[in-house]
């Protein structure tokens, strides 16, 4: 009896491929770690303690009454509230440049995507436009900012907005063309059979189908761009990054804590707002009411 069940049971699949892949990965990581000869690995055990201590100071800054005066500042009139207001103003600038950048990206990627989708463009247009999208996406915003935008616009938010805008053309273009290719072909065939021109086909059969998802992507890209805009400040392309860089380098932990708190709060608020809008756009009023 027992021998019958033992033989009917299938053999488990071999485990060695997983083990081999796991060991190979660990090997690669060890080689990578060994190649970094100036990494201060011996500092690692002390770091959690230090970081916690600084995080505590940051939290102190956030929790202190805004009317109080911080110690050791040149200006005796300065209050924590001034730091909050200044951080909010700069974060506002970051959000504004992310918005303008997203608009630029949406404006240019939308028409270009129709020249790149398999169901709306011939191959000799598709290939160059798709290559253009991929090439733009491969250049990080910060490089665009440093090489092209800072010389053009100088050290101000326009440089950051344009760097984000150009970079967004690549990513939004790719997503938009995927939306266009995913439309239901039947309405397109119907208007083609009725003798619609290329333009009429796009306007009546393609755009109504892909518009909601595309607008949702724009909003999503805006969320991504807010994070990117906080980074661009570090190369002085506008927004909160420049001051954050200076303050944290100066180890002004209380001040830095307030700035990080503002970044977190504003980012989460905009994310929530944008997620609600996206849900409303994609699923309609009834579904949104139920979800809320």
């Amino acid at each position: 009896m027992t021998s019958v069940t033992a033989t009917t049971r299938p053999k488990p699949p071999p485990k060695w491929p997983y083990t081999a892949v796991g060991l190979a990965l660990i090997g690669i990581v060890l080689v990578a770690g060994w190649s970094l000869d100036d990494a201060k690995w011996e500092r690692l055990p002390q770091l959690p303690g230090e970081i916690l201590q600084y995080a505590g100071q940051m939290l102190d800054g956030v929790l202190t009454w805004p009317g109080a005066h911080p110690e050791g500042q040149a200006d005796p009139e300065l209050t924590y509230g001034d730091w909050w207001l200044q951080a909010l103003k700069l974060m506002g600038e970051s959000v504004a440049l992310a918005w303008v950048g997203t608009c630029v990206g949406a404006l240019f990627s939308f028409p270009l995507a129709f020249l790149a989708a398999a169901n709306t463009a011939p191959w000799f247009l598709r290939v160059p436009v798709q290559t253009f999208f991929n090439a733009i996406r491969a250049v990080p915003e910060i490089l665009l900012a440093v090489i092209v935008m800072l010389p053009l616009f100088g050290l101000n938010p326009m440089a950051g907005a344009m760097a984000i805008g150009i970079h967004s053309i690549g990513s939004l273009g790719k997503l938009t063309l995927e939306n266009i290719e995913a439309v239901d072909p039947r309405p397109v065939e119907a208007v083609t059979a009725a003798g619609a021109t290329w333009w009429q086909r796009i306007r009546t059969a393609v755009i109504p189908q892909m518009m909601p998802e595309t607008v949702a992507f724009w909003l999503y890209r805006f969320e991504v761009n807010i994070r990117a805009s906080a980074i661009l400040g570090v190369v002085s392309a506008g927004g909160i990054g420049a001051l954050l860089n200076r303050v944290l380098r100066g180890r002004e932990w209380e001040w830095g804590g307030i700035m990080l708190a503002v970044i977190i709060i504003v980012t989460i608020l905009v994310d929530q707002l944008s997620a609600t809008l996206r849900h409303r756009i994609l699923h309609g009023a009834e579904a949104t009411a139920v979800a809320a």
């Binding site: 201060k40 970081i51 440093v146 092209v148 906080a230 009023a285």
Partner: protein, 274 residues
Amino acid sequence: MSQATLERPGGSPKQVRPAQPPPSPLLIGGILGAVAVTVVAGWAIDFSLAPVVEQWPKLAMILEDVVHPEWSEITDPSSRLWTALKETAAIAIIATFVGSLIALGVALLGSKVSAPPAVYRVTKPVMSVIRSLPDMAYALVFVAVVTGPLPGILALTIFNIGIVAKLTAESIDAVDPGPLEALDAAGATRWQRARVAIVPAVLPNYASYVLYVFELNIRASVVLGAVGAGGIGQLIMLYFNRADYPRLAAVVIVIFVVVIAIDLLSQFLRRRLV
């Protein structure tokens, strides 16, 4: 011809056709709102395209340098560029590996399928706070504490935990409940359920998320170097501050090629995985 077929006895085609619905007030409100936000945002950053014309000669001069890159930077294997590139790759590999391993554990704590309610209700908001800070903010904090490539590794590790844990937790939420019920009926513990039913089910998705963050990390390490967190970004800032555009162009070419190559490789692998 079409006109003739549309004609019906006793009425013109206009009466047969239903009226077009008016645009919804919400749509009008949404468009007006978007326009208003754009105007305010444009005003806040002093939107102007005039510098494109005014400063064009300056940019043309730089671009002139950029199209004549310093090839020795690429051809010489002992150049600063290759050292920095190796450092960037090492940072991305270590951060992806460590971050993804931790993220798998965090994801199990962050889904209601695998964790008790008290645990995932705490884990989820903590994760969204961690994700709300850009990688750069972490790098800035770590750079203030320690120098060398270590701050870059730490910043990216935290960043990766945030992303991989979120995506994996969502995959765990969507896991097929059949095997889980079978295990529950057989009296499995939480650990056994995770080990036998959840992890194998999400493994392909998890692997594709790991590849995705590896891609992100290669890009991010360009950025992180700009604040001194090691890697190729530090080189970019060095050449930018010296206005050494020919060498900067060489760096850009290499980054461009590496990013595209890694994108293609990871896209190929991800397509095979899922």
